[in-house]
């Protein structure tokens, strides 16, 4: 048995961009997968495409309980409390994970309900500005980072270790890189490289729009790329940034310091933004070097540029290994 061998059934709650793409990938690999979608239209679209989907949440969860399925809450933050309550009611012994882009707030809801031993946090760093089943696609997760949390590992039962292992297997089955990170470390990191990016994109879009028809006519590739994620539904941007507000404020304060310095330098009689330009260039070059193998390879086989750590879940010292992997941004495999 390889580490990508998924033996449990997978029950996906929410068949949008992430949940739908996960369903497609798992089904393509022969995994037994079915799901629930709140809108009947979405569920029917999945049925029409040959997938096993329902718009009855309780019914779907009872089926998961019978199957001892692994449940994936593939819905944004606002839907999570209701889903957790439904899992408690209808699938009281199933383990579950999620795909929400913040982890502290989800973990707080899990702990409020005393469900830590049945929950492993997840966050696939993949997506487009589009949403819904119609945006789902095979291969969305190939070589994407998929964070898996492990705050509960020091206190874990054998069941939790088995659940955690199954979540890693599911992640590897769809071609993603499983990156262990504790809840707070994850949230601090994504505030910098995702949520702040959204705040900046919204801001640039507005300042560009304020320039009127001439500015909009002159806007070219750099403006298009840097404002792309401003095309994300505002409710999703709010769900990300507002539920991770503390970490976003830390990142935003760092950014504001840099921008205020740049502003002061530009307002001088002899403007000089060499410090910002040099540091930004160096940072981007480091990013490119790190991601080089992933981003620019012409090979059809995408090779991960992330270091790999192999570990045996539950073995002596495995939590220390997870901490080490986290500090390196490493992907893990299990044996």
């Amino acid at each position: 048995m390889t580490s990508t061998n998924v033996t449990r059934s997978i029950c996906i709650l929410g068949l949008g961009l992430i949940g739908g793409s996960l369903m497609r990938d798992l089904a393509a690999r022969g995994v037994h997968v079915y799901g629930y979608n709140r809108s009947g239209a979405g569920a029917r679209a999945a049925n029409d495409a040959g997938f096993d989907a329902s718009d009855d949440l309780a019914d779907t969860l009872r089926r998961a309980e019978e199957d001892k399925a692994l449940i994936v809450m593939a819905a944004p933050m606002p839907a999570i409390p209701g889903m957790l309550d439904a899992i408690v009611d209808h699938a009281p012994s199933c383990g579950f994970t999620d795909v929400v882009s913040v982890k502290a707030e989800v973990y707080a809801l899990v702990k409020e309900r005393g469900l830590q031993d049945r929950y492993v946090g997840g966050h696939p760093m993949a997506g487009t500005a589009d949403s819904g089943w119609s945006a789902s696609q095979e291969g969305l997760f190939t070589r994407a980072a998929w964070v898996i949390t492990y705050d509960h590992a020091p206190d874990a039962s054998d069941e939790w270790i088995s659940l955690w292992t199954d979540v890693v297997r599911m992640i590897l089955a769809v071609g993603a890189d499983a990156i262990p990170a504790r809840v707070d470390h994850h949230d601090a990191a994504v505030a910098r490289i995702s949520h702040l990016v959204h705040v900046f994109a919204e801001t640039l879009a507005i300042v560009g729009d304020n320039g009127g028809a001439l500015a909009q006519s002159l806007a070219a590739g750099s403006f298009r790329d840097s404002t792309r994620v401003a095309g994300t539904q505002p409710s999703l941007v709010r769900a990300m940034c507002e539920t991770n507000a503390d970490a976003v404020v830390v990142a935003l304060d760092e950014a504001l310091d840099l921008l205020n310095d740049a502003r002061a330098s530009l307002a001088k009689p002899r403007p000089d933004i060499s410090q910002l330009a040099d540091s930004g260039y160096a940072a981007r070059v480091r990013f490119e070097a790190r991601h080089g193998a992933r981003g620019e390879s012409v090979s059809p086989v995408k090779i991960s540029s992330r270091p790999l750590l192999r570990l045996h879940p539950g073995a002596a010292g495995w939590v220390s290994q997870l901490v080490q992997a986290e500090s390196l941004g490493a992907r893990i495999d299990i044996f």
Copy 2:
């Protein structure tokens, strides 16, 4: 004779990304084109590719003077004063244009030398983060905005009107959209949709880098796209932002107001960034609607989404027509 019929020889000073691409496109359309490049290696690379290039500036300009060529200064800001002096010395009757991304500072240098009646400002909104002859390519300017300034039009001689017409013809010959804009309006617009984008990209790259290995490992498409132009050589970013500092400060102050408001909203007990998220989304949707035909068409024929105004240079009311085109961000054709 169509409006894209270029009858003058074109002499390009600087054969990097912009100058080299312009040379390739003009040559492909049968225009008589030759150029100068400061580095002998660049000039030789152009020669090896079958183009007419030299690393002797004075010699190239004397040739332009003999030909009555249109000179294109395809070099960044720091090279412009020296090029202007060389034009005065060696090509004293040629008309000339430039491709610098700021127009007020170039125009000030032109006016210092009393050359207004021989100069038409230009700025092609095209490029990549790469530079040099090796980055040049055919088709770089297809449907790109190429600003052409007209501040001198109310006082223009017949020679200047003829020069201006020839610059428009050259722009249309390489498939770009000629967008008239006065120097200050151009600089205010590009501060918003280009220079601020660079300042933001540098800032995001640094804040992301500060997050260490985990944050860098999790960085995905949105971070990559929004920091792409931080890969531009710092000297080019400085040349753009520092020489357009006043306009960049105006745009940056608008951005800082939005970011400070967002920061305050996120620091509240109940964070709420709906104002930023809604306005940013609406602005991006307007941008997409405006650029739709250009950006997402699957047709191999790129159709401009910009309104078209036809005008006859020098005819009664043509300056008013230019002002109108500018206010619409419209492209022009000449007849």
